[in-house]
């Protein structure tokens, strides 16, 4: 099928009036002026503050918990440990199904008990008075040796593994072989095979084999996890929480606490950064505490707690062997991927396995994935979970092979890049995708064009890499209503973490042909909003946006019907423009939306209110790809790396709000640069985190980041609104590989681990 591609020109000219136009985010002003109310800004009468005692050990038996002294501390209202809670339906194999450690702690920072007080400082003081007797056990920290037979065990055997959260990020039918009930640290395995991989290597002119490692990293949202819960006498549980996934929070609370979904109201407060890490964490413990004390309870994690005991992204080791023919054809790929899951299952090894062999056509492949348990905090999602680890390996190989064969690294990629119909390693064919378009566009970027100039300059280099993401799928719905004054209200159930409500405003304005200022978008709570999936897996515009479009079309139909009755015409003869319904060809027959609003809401009105309804469900994903290029300079005596320039191309399908799309591209590229250059959670041999703060866990600052050139390409998806496809996640994926390739270009040697720190550069150069 011929693919339509265009690089969006910044003015956003098109046949549309609202979508496709750069639009300032609705919630942006509040955020930059400090007016936005985050969860911690909310306060309720009689509210108590919770402080949580975390385990100092990564692995230990809990012999006793004595809270007597803490209870006596003046100002303390309650001290609650596992024994003080009712027998809920816990699932010890599922991080989301555990409140306090009961007999055994499995990672440093795992909650043991909580103190409640009106004054948070008093609660904190009392934490020191809780006496816990631990019997330290062997902490298993290295996932590679943890896989060996005879390794000490991380924990008791797992069973009933629940992978619902992972499915929210990437939805695809793949069998994961669960090692349930077995005394092993391997939680699950994945296996993909195609062709005859050994025969493939025999055909190859260049074979490269290398082991790649990528560090455990943290989402490091500005706002740590924050939740308030209240349980009233009618048995209704209300939760205000910084989550990407209000309905999922509701469902999880229902499962564990045994409260009907209809009795739980979850309000997603404005999220101060989530990146996949704000799905479900502090909600259960806060709700459980509120149920005990029957008072509102607020639990705000400190930065340290959040670093220790949230859900960071995994360390991974990727052992990769690839073979290419002299003409650049990729003929064989063999990979073993090991993802460190921490103390509970949930590592994104499946997407890693899909992407290590999913960017290029390769007739022969064999991919094995292992999800390994260790006594570290269990991992969760970080923007395209698991993809950057695998991409770092395959995209480094593509560069090495191209270099060895004397091929242009972009052409080698172009030759093998997947297209519509090509299978993923799991066998599913790709729908229409824009990978090749991204490759073409990156070759036109300023950074890539500087390659010729940079060539031959000592310690300077340019690198390129690609990355992609499939995305998640969940049904979605939306309501579009006409108000009495003619304005439009859009109600959705999705948390707005990336400007999606602004895109919904544009979509409704486009359908109803009204100015943006006439459309208001609200994210309702789980009792008032129509259902939406979690704002994760890059699916919100793709799914909820579609529902908004359908709802707006439904509302429009209702308005036209009313006008048709009024004008005694057929709806086909009517159109909407400038906030009015017009009878085509008759300038006198005009009905303003305000009039229509009155006609459907006034006392004794003849017509029923206009309430448009949109629901959707799809099984078809709209994968997104990104190509990125970097120019770096290395100080060969200190190892310091300066990123001089960066370019990112992404296929947006259709950029409903090009400003938001560019923002997502720049944000993801920046996070990718952090992963590439400085972010790493470091543990000692006892499994204790050495850098539980944002000083020694180094996010890039503005001064570490280069100017980022953004280029949007648009290969329309088949089902997304106006052709939009997933946007949020692909941008983070190629950063590690892009920098690795640029560094190799600069210094002529490979640093195989990311982040590529100055110390690792000096080691690779043989200077240490």
């Amino acid at each position: 099928m011929a693919q339509e591609t265009k690089t969006r020109d910044k003015a956003g000219d098109s046949e549309y009036t609202a979508v496709g136009k750069p639009t300032i985010r609705i919630e942006g002003v509040g955020k930059v002026t400090g007016q936005t109310k985050f969860a911690d800004d909310l306060t309720f009468p009689h509210m108590l503050h919770a402080k949580v005692l975390g385990s100092p050990h990564a692995h230990a038996r809990v012999k006793s918990v004595d809270t007597a002294d803490a209870r006596q501390h003046p100002g303390v209202e309650a001290v609650i440990a596992a024994a003080d809670l009712p027998a809920y339906k816990m699932n010890p194999s599922n991080r989301r199904g555990v409140i306090f450690a009961v007999d055994e702690v499995l990672f440093q920072g795992q909650p043991i008990a909580a103190v409640l007080a009106s004054d948070p400082h008093v609660a904190e003081e009392a934490l020191a008075l809780i006496k816990v007797e631990y019997e330290p056990l062997t902490a298993v920290t290295d996932p590679i040796s943890a896989m060996e037979d005879g390794s000490p065990l991380v924990r008791s055997a797992i069973s009933d593994v629940d992978r619902s959260e992972e499915k929210g990020h990437v939805t695809i039918d793949v069998e994961q072989e669960e090692a349930e009930g077995a005394p092993s640290n391997i939680a699950s395995k994945i296996n993909f095979s195609r062709g005859d991989v050994e025969a493939g290597f025999a055909e190859a002119d260049c074979v490269v084999e290398q082991t790649w490692r990528s560090a455990m990293v943290h989402q490091s949202y500005i706002e740590p996890h924050a939740t308030i819960a209240d349980f009233d006498n009618s048995g209704e549980l209300s939760v205000w929480t910084s989550t990407q996934a209000p309905f999922y929070v509701r469902d999880e609370l229902c499962q564990t606490l045994g409260i009907h979904e209809s009795k739980i109201r979850v309000t997603a407060t404005e999220v101060g950064g989530g990146f996949g890490g704000k799905i479900f964490l502090t909600e259960l413990i806060t709700a459980a505490l509120a149920i005990v004390v029957k008072r509102p309870v607020k639990y705000i994690m400190s930065r340290k707690e959040d670093m220790l005991a949230a859900t960071p992204a995994p360390f991974a080791q990727v052992e990769l062997k690839t073979g290419m023919k002299a003409d650049g054809t990729l003929v064989a790929l063999k990979a073993r991927l090991i993802y460190d899951s921490g103390a509970f299952p949930g590592a994104p090894v499946m997407p890693g396995c899909l992407f290590v062999g999913g960017y290029y056509k390769c007739p022969n492949l064999h991919i094995e994935g292992f999800e390994v348990l260790t006594n570290k905090v269990s991992v969760g999602a970080l923007r395209a979970p698991g993809a950057h680890n695998a991409t770092h390996a395959i995209e480094s190989h593509m560069d090495i092979m191209a270099r060895e064969l004397g091929l242009d690294p972009l052409e080698a990629r172009m030759k093998n890049a997947v297209e519509e119909g090509d299978p993923l390693p799991s066998g599913q064919p790709y729908p229409r995708i824009g990978l090749k378009d991204c490759l073409r566009a990156i070759s036109e970027s300023d950074v890539w064009k500087r390659r010729r100039e940079v060539e031959g300059q000592a310690n300077r280099g340019v690198g390129v890499a690609i990355g992609g993401w499939i995305g998640g799928l969940q049904p979605a719905s939306a309501i579009v209503g006409l108000n009495g004054d003619g304005t439009i209200d859009v109600t959705v159930g999705s948390a707005d973490i990336s400007g999606t409500n602004t895109s919904f405003q544009q979509i409704a304005a486009e359908v109803l042909n009204v100015p943006l200022s006439s459309v208001n978008v609200t994210t309702g709570d789980t009792k008032t909003a129509p259902y939406a999936g979690m704002s994760a897996g890059s699916k919100t515009t793709y799914t909820v946006g579609k529902a908004v479009k359908l709802a707006a079309e439904d509302a429009k139909r209702q308005m036209l019907d009313i006008a048709a009755q009024r004008f005694e015409a057929s709806p086909d003869e009517l159109s909407v423009a400038d906030g009015k319904v017009h009878l085509d060809g008759d300038d006198d027959k005009v009905l303003t939306f305000a009039r229509l609003g009155k006609m459907t809401t006034n006392f004794g009105a003849r017509f029923a209110p206009v309430v448009g309804r949109g629901t959707m469900s799809t099984r078809k994903s709209a994968p997104g790809f990104s190509a990125q290029a970097a120019e770096v300079e290395i100080d060969p005596d200190t190892g310091a790396i300066t990123v001089l320039g960066y370019a990112i191309v992404q296929d947006a399908g259709f950029a409903i709000n090009p400003l938001s799309v560019e923002g997502q591209m720049q944000g993801g590229a920046s996070q990718g640069l952090g992963i590439a250059l400085s972010e790493e959670m470091k543990f000692d041999e006892e499994g204790r985190l050495l850098n539980a703060n944002l000083l020694d866990y180094r996010l890039p600052t503005t001064r570490d980041l280069p100017p980022i050139e953004t280029i949007i390409v648009e290969v329309p998806s088949e089902e997304g609104p106006y052709g939009a496809r997933i946007i949020g996640e692909p941008s983070i994926v190629p950063g590690g590989a892009t920098i690795a390739n640029a560094v190799a270009d600069a210094i002529g040697v490979r640093v195989t681990d990311i982040p590529i720190t100055p110390e690792r550069v000096l080691r690779a150069l043989g200077k240490l």
Binding site: E124, A128, S302, D637, N691, R698, D704, E759
Partner: protein, 292 residues
Amino acid sequence: MRTFNFYAPTALDEALELLRKTDGGRPIAGGTDLVVQMKEAATKFPHPSSIISLLLIPELNGIEFDESTGLRIGATSTMSDIADSADIREHYPSIAEGAGIVGSIQTMNMATVGGNLCNGAPSADTAPPFLVHDAEFVITGPNGRRSLPADEFFVGPGETALAPNELLVEVRVPAPADRSGSAYVRHTPRKQMDIAVVGVAAAVTLTNDDRIENIRIALGAVAPTPVRATKTETFLSGQPASDESFAEAAETAAAECNPISDVRGSAEFRRHLVGTLTKRMLERAANRARGG
């Protein structure tokens, strides 16, 4: 953070009296070290019951320079005050460089030089510059005033020569001789908001025939305290200010320092950086001494 009392005296005597009366009271200036430590308190750090602000005490503030008597920096001068001072930039460039890289603009507007020194971190960015400029620290306390040379002030990580309830009043730095120059640089993974993995300061005075008449080198973050590289200084005295002698000095400095491995870098990496940065700072300081 736990609860505490807060005092803001306006006279030095009053502050000393409060320190004496509030058992376990603690002075605070910008709070950029202390508040972070109090937040993390629970185990590591005895949480103060009272904190006594020094910021309203006029005697502790101000920067003055005189060609003959030298420089006086009040303890509560901020990093921004120091980095922006034309006198310091001209006559003590390494001090301006050390102060000018502390954290970010926001940090520099809060952080004081007294806090930086009294916090006693081996990585404190103003310590190596003061060491190479032969600074004197003026201290007051229950037993009156005293003055200590910079290299006797630092005792261990988080430990200084301050006795309980003593306060740092000011830092005095002699006027530099003619044909003198100094420089400070640190290695950090990030370009701002970071802590030195290694910091190196150098100050040189050159003879008219470009020999090294006087030399000071100080290293941060490679020992329990900021330290002078005395062997390297001895080696360089009287040598020509040349590439060769600076290269050899770099090796000597790398050999004489004794860093540890921690989360910010291995001992090997630090030692390598000491060599690289010592050479660079000697070159920069010598250039400045030549008027460059």
